[in-house]
């Protein structure tokens, strides 16, 4: 629905007002009408959208927003350009008019893009990298066995570069004192790639060489480009000897780094990778292993010797045990025999004794029967005499009792005794005593005689 046209600004001499959509469409037409040109500058802020890629092209005096269909960019086969990469673009101005719901934008529509200078080298490099990778040439070197302790290693480097010293330092750090075969080669000009390739082939042709280091210090990408040479990389990929590459720094990855068995950031590290074993540590470990072997061997022998000794002693001990037991049984047997004999003989003796006792008893019985009749008569006489004596004794006891002082005392008489307990029978004797005792039937009373009256 066409919008209602408002009145213009009072006093303005300009034409219009026009609807913005109409003006935007006209603007796009005009911009598209500009001459199509090539523009160069540095890429900045490259980003990929769903359908298009976006970046700015800048130089010291100005900048231009650029866009490119994404599929056109991908068809170039180059990585997303980093900030600062020099490119040449071809195309023309374009304008997206936007709408009520979308912002308008201006951009230089790029139809073709070419990386210039180093950037161009990078693009070539990337194409070659993809090609080699697709052919599987990154793999063969990685599959080669790398000896832990090579005796001879080959080194390709510049004759007077710092890399040479770094490699020697790395080898010394490993405690390695093997043989180093130097194959010096120019490492940076156009002669470098063929020379390095030949050096590698020559080294690999020596059966003694077990690993090869290719080293050079850092440099510009153009310098390092010798190590991205296709022939060199294809040669390395198919060498029988593992190649350890240390070319430039880790930020500059050359194709050699990709095809080599190992890629290191410094020549020192490359030397260490060529001799993976730390010889000093290996010596210590080996000594430890030798000691363990000796110990195990000795222990196995000593343990078994101990068992043998024990086993060899066993029969003797067994016999000794049996001997002791036998002795004991013998002693027990003897003791038992003695006991049995003693027992048997004592039984015989008893029988004999019993027999004689019985004979004696028979004789005695006969005599005693004869004696018994006589004894019976005698006993009757003895009983009569005994009865008589008992009667006499009773009479005597009665007479004696009649004379017992105690009986007299019981009738009220008292007995006077001196200090010795003798009876005092006269007054004169009583006067002579210091003390007297009057004995009554139920106890004694001490008395003192009065002194005589003058």
């Amino acid at each position: 629905m066409p919008e209602r046209r408002p009145a213009g600004i009072p006093g303005s001499e300009l034409t219009g007002p026009f609807p913005v959509g109409v003006y935007a469409a006209r603007l796009r037409e005009r911009l598209r009408g500009f001459a199509r040109v090539q523009v160069f500058g540095e890429v900045f802020g490259f980003k990929a959208g769903r359908a298009k890629v976006w970046f700015e092209l800048r130089d010291a005096s100005g900048a231009l927003p650029c866009s490119m269909w994404r599929e056109d960019f991908e068809a170039l086969g180059i990585p997303a350009p980093a900030d600062g990469v020099q490119v040449v673009v071809a195309g023309g101005c374009d304008y997206y008019p936007g709408s009520r719901t979308a912002s308008p934008s201006f951009s230089f529509a790029v139809g073709a893009l070419h990386v210039a200078g180093e950037g161009d080298l990078l693009a070539q490099l990337e194409r070659l990298r993809r090609a080699l990778h697709a052919e599987g040439l990154f793999e063969p070197q990685k599959r080669l066995p790398r000896p832990q302790l090579p005796r001879t290693i080959g080194v390709v480097c510049g004759e007077h570069g710092k890399a040479r010293d770094d490699i020697l330092a790395g080898l010394r750090r490993r405690g390695w004192g093997g043989r180093v075969a130097w194959a010096f080669a120019p490492v940076q000009d156009r002669h470098a790639a063929p020379a390095v390739t030949r050096a590698l082939q020559d080294l690999a042709a020596c059966a003694e060489v077990e690993a090869i280091v290719v080293a050079r210090g850092g440099g510009s990408l153009a310098d390092l480009f010798a190590f991205c040479d296709e022939t060199l990389c294809r040669t390395v990929a198919l060498l029988r000897v593992p190649v350890i590459a240390s070319v430039g720094h880790h930020t500059d990855r050359t194709l050699l780094d990709d095809v080599a068995a190992v890629s290191c950031s410094t020549p020192t590290h490359a030397a260490e990778a060529a001799v993976p074993l730390d010889c000093g540590a290996a010596r210590t470990a080996l000594a430890g292993q030798a000691r363990r072997l000796e110990r195990q061997g000795r222990r196995a022998l000593v343990e078994r010797a101990r068992i043998l000794v024990r086993l060899s002693r066993a029969p003797a001990a067994h016999v000794e045990r049996h001997r002791t037991r036998l002795h004991q049984q013998l002693r027990e047997l003897r003791a038992a025999a003695r006991r049995r004999v003693a027992h048997e003989s004592s039984g015989n003796h008893g029988a004999a004794v019993a027999l004689s006792r019985r004979a004696r008893a028979a004789a005695t019985a006969r005599a005693s029967r004869e004696r018994q009749a006589a004894t019976h008569a005698a006993a009757l006489v003895r009983l009569a005499a005994l009865d008589r004596r008992r009667r006499d004794l009773d009479r005597l006891a009665l007479a004696l009792a009649a004379h017992d002082p105690q009986r007299t005392l019981e009738r009220g008489y008292a007995l006077v005794e001196d200090s010795a307990g003798e009876p005092v029978t006269s007054a004169a004797a009583a006067r002579g005593q210091l003390s007297l005792t009057v004995r009554l039937h139920d106890g004694r009373v001490p008395v003192r005689p009065e002194p005589p009256v003058p």
Binding site: P150, G154, G175, R179, V180, A282, L293, Q296
Partner: protein, 72 residues
């Protein structure tokens, strides 16, 4: 055991580790123990010889010298 001319340091080390592990397990009989010890001793000697071979100090020579020496 690999023959001495084809034996490598890493193979020798690997075999020695296996031998020591077997001995440490205490499961080997006397004959096996003695044989393993003997083999281990040979391996130690081999490894020591390998280490000695690269223990005499760096020898540097140019590739053409190496080739000449090998061809001589």
């Amino acid at each position: 055991m690999a023959e001495a001319d084809t034996l490598t340091y890493e193979a020798a080390c690997e075999r020695m580790e296996a031998i020591i592990a077997r001995l440490d397990s205490g499961e080997s009989g006397l004959r096996e123990t003695l044989e393993l010890c003997q083999e281990g001793r040979r391996l130690v000697e081999f490894c020591a010889a390998e280490l000695d071979a690269v223990g005499r100090g760096l020898e540097e020579l140019r590739l053409d010298e190496l080739v000449a020496r090998l061809e001589a």
